[in-house]
């Protein structure tokens, strides 16, 4: 099976800081792939390189077999690559409804947009109740739900999720992970960045471990979950 997304020896620098060092991995169509690692390991940077929010200093990012060099972030949305950024990145001073419409910014089919908004509300009924509210008034969990629902409005083929569990209560996190699995079963490929290694590896087909900008270990999610090193380093055992 051809990889939907592949990174080959990607290096990223922030000024003098060498944030990614030769990162290579693949995301196959239909999978949930997770990147786990400590703070500062380069997880968010990797996602930013994939969605062209920053340009790698060397190496290649390929999406659907084509290099993304020189592409702009906004051009990738039309090609089905959507990134729900870290810290939720919702627009606090716009309403829930307006946030969802922005997710569908490139689409013109009004009926389809309305239908997808309803689908989003079916996934997250809490959002329906708050449709007219400013997004900044939502709780952290609701904002995360909105960020995911908004990303789905673009009908992504590949969804990049950055730390969806950040700052959320455990039950809310579990709900969100269950929904991520549902979204995947509906055919959306997912690249998930997480600090919560246990939950992330639990739902991932494939996992990669990042340490100081390098992939140090990879394997099927269930296998990594059993690995003693991983258990020690990331699951606190």
């Amino acid at each position: 099976m051809a990889a939907l997304l592949s990174l080959e020896n990607v290096d990223v620098h922030y000024g003098a800081i060498h944030a990614l060092r030769g990162v290579s991995f693949e995301v196959n169509e239909g999978q949930i792939v997770t990147l786990i690692g400590a703070n500062g390991a380069g997880k968010t940077t990797t996602l930013r390189a994939v969605s062209c929010m920053l340009q790698p200093t060397s190496g290649t990012v390929r999406y659907q077999g084509q290099s993304l060099a020189g592409q702009k972030a906004h051009q990738l949305v039309a090609r089905g690559l959507c990134h729900a950024p870290e810290g939720r990145g919702i627009f606090p001073q716009l309403t829930v409804h307006e946030n969802l419409l922005l997710g569908a910014f490139l689409r013109r089919d009004k009926a389809g947009i309305a239908a997808d908004a309803e689908k989003g509300f079916a996934l997250f009924p809490r959002l329906k109740e708050r449709e007219k509210q400013l997004a900044g008034t939502l709780s952290g969990g609701e904002q995360q739900m909105l960020a995911i629902a908004r990303a789905l409005m673009a009908r992504p083929k590949l969804l990049l999720l950055d730390e969806p569990s950040l700052g959320l209560a455990p039950q809310v996190t579990e709900t969100i992970f269950r929904i991520i699995e549902d979204i995947n079963k509906q055919g959306v490929t997912i690249l998930l960045v997480e600090q919560n290694a246990h939950l992330a590896l639990g739902i991932a087909h494939q996992g990669y471990v990042l340490e100081t900008g390098t992939v140090v270990k990879s394997g099927p999610g269930a296998e990594l979950l059993k690995s003693p090193e991983i258990r020690e380093a990331y699951l606190g055992e």
Binding site: A73, H74, V77, H83, P85, F91, Q93, E98, L102, G140
Partner: protein, 300 residues
């Protein structure tokens, strides 16, 4: 009472012009966090282009008609839209990722460039301006309202209403607001941020041109430095209303116009500029986010 109402009408008329200019400051600040000091000069170019189209490139100024005035205004607004586009593209876009002070200094540079370039191109002496046919003032009760004031208020109201529709009820407007909150995330929604910023400059410059023509019709002359004071006043108006806030710019402009006219009417016109800037200082001391500006607090 009649005198008071007369001052109110004059104030609203001047205020409407300030509001139109202030909208450009506030929208550009919204998407770029930049005070475009050249904005007052685009206002001047708007009036100047109307002067050239009416007197130099046609004989409209000799035989003014309403239709001709509309056509001249549209041409001049289109030229200024283009100028706004070019200013952003040439002067500000290359500095997008540079420290903000660089863009600010560049903005002052662009302003000087247009002002003194304008003196070279247009000549430094004032020219008489008139694109409207002579219209009698309208008598309401004891009030005499100048036709120019009525046209100014009507045009400004229509433009502000149109802008309100664009900003709050269209896809592009939603994208503008998204860019103003967070350009990086807006790009992740598929919004072409560069396009939205260009669009904002064009929109602001078109409104400035309209304001310039109305201003030149009210005080019938044009000269290359005419944008200085109204530009500064409109900037004050935008800050009073809350910089970055579209309804705030409208409220700030009208309020500043009213206060100036009341001060001129009841005290002395020499005091009106002092009062305008004192008001700026007061607002910055008491409510720096402006009358309608929200202090930025977010739930995390």
């Amino acid at each position: 009472m009649t005198e008071f109402l007369q001052h109110i009408i004059n104030g609203l008329s001047v205020g409407a012009i300030y509001a139109l200019i202030a909208l450009g400051y506030t929208m550009v600040y919204g998407v770029l966090k930049l005070i475009n000091f050249a904005h007052g000069d685009v206002f001047m170019v708007g009036a100047m282009m109307a002067f050239y189209t009416s007197s130099k490139w046609s004989s409209e100024a000799q035989h003014p008609t309403i239709g001709g005035a509309v056509l001249i205004a549209v041409i001049s607004m289109a030229i200024c839209g283009l100028i706004g586009f070019v200013i952003e593209r040439v002067a500000y876009r290359p500095l997008r990722s540079a420290p903000r002070i660089n863009s600010l200094i560049t903005a002052i540079g662009v302003s000087f460039f247009i002002e003194y370039g304008g003196q070279v191109v247009f000549g430094p002496t004032p020219n008489a301006f008139g694109i409207l046919p002579p219209l009698p003032p309208v008598q309401v009760g004891g009030l005499s309202i100048g036709a120019v004031d009525i046209i100014t208020m009507a045009v400004a109201l229509a433009l502000m209403f149109g802008l309100q529709r664009i900003v709050f009820h269209t896809r592009l407007g939603t994208a503008m607001r998204a860019v103003s909150h967070n350009p990086d995330v807006a790009a992740l929604m598929g919004v072409n941020v560069d396009f939205i910023i260009s669009f904002t400059f064009v929109l602001g410059s078109v409104l400035a041109a309209a304001a310039g023509i109305l201003f030149a019709s009210k005080y019938p002359s044009v000269q290359p430095l005419m944008g200085l004071m109204p530009g500064l006043k409109a900037f004050v108006a935008a800050v009073i209303g809350g910089i970055g806030n579209v309804p705030g710019a409208m409220v700030g402009g009208l309020l500043l116009g009213l206060i100036e006219q009341l001060v001129s009417g009841y005290f002395s016109s020499q005091w009106k500029d002092a009062v305008a800037f004192a008001l700026l200082i007061l607002i910055l001391l008491v409510k720096p986010s402006g009358l309608l500006g929200r202090a930025t607090a977010e739930k995390v």
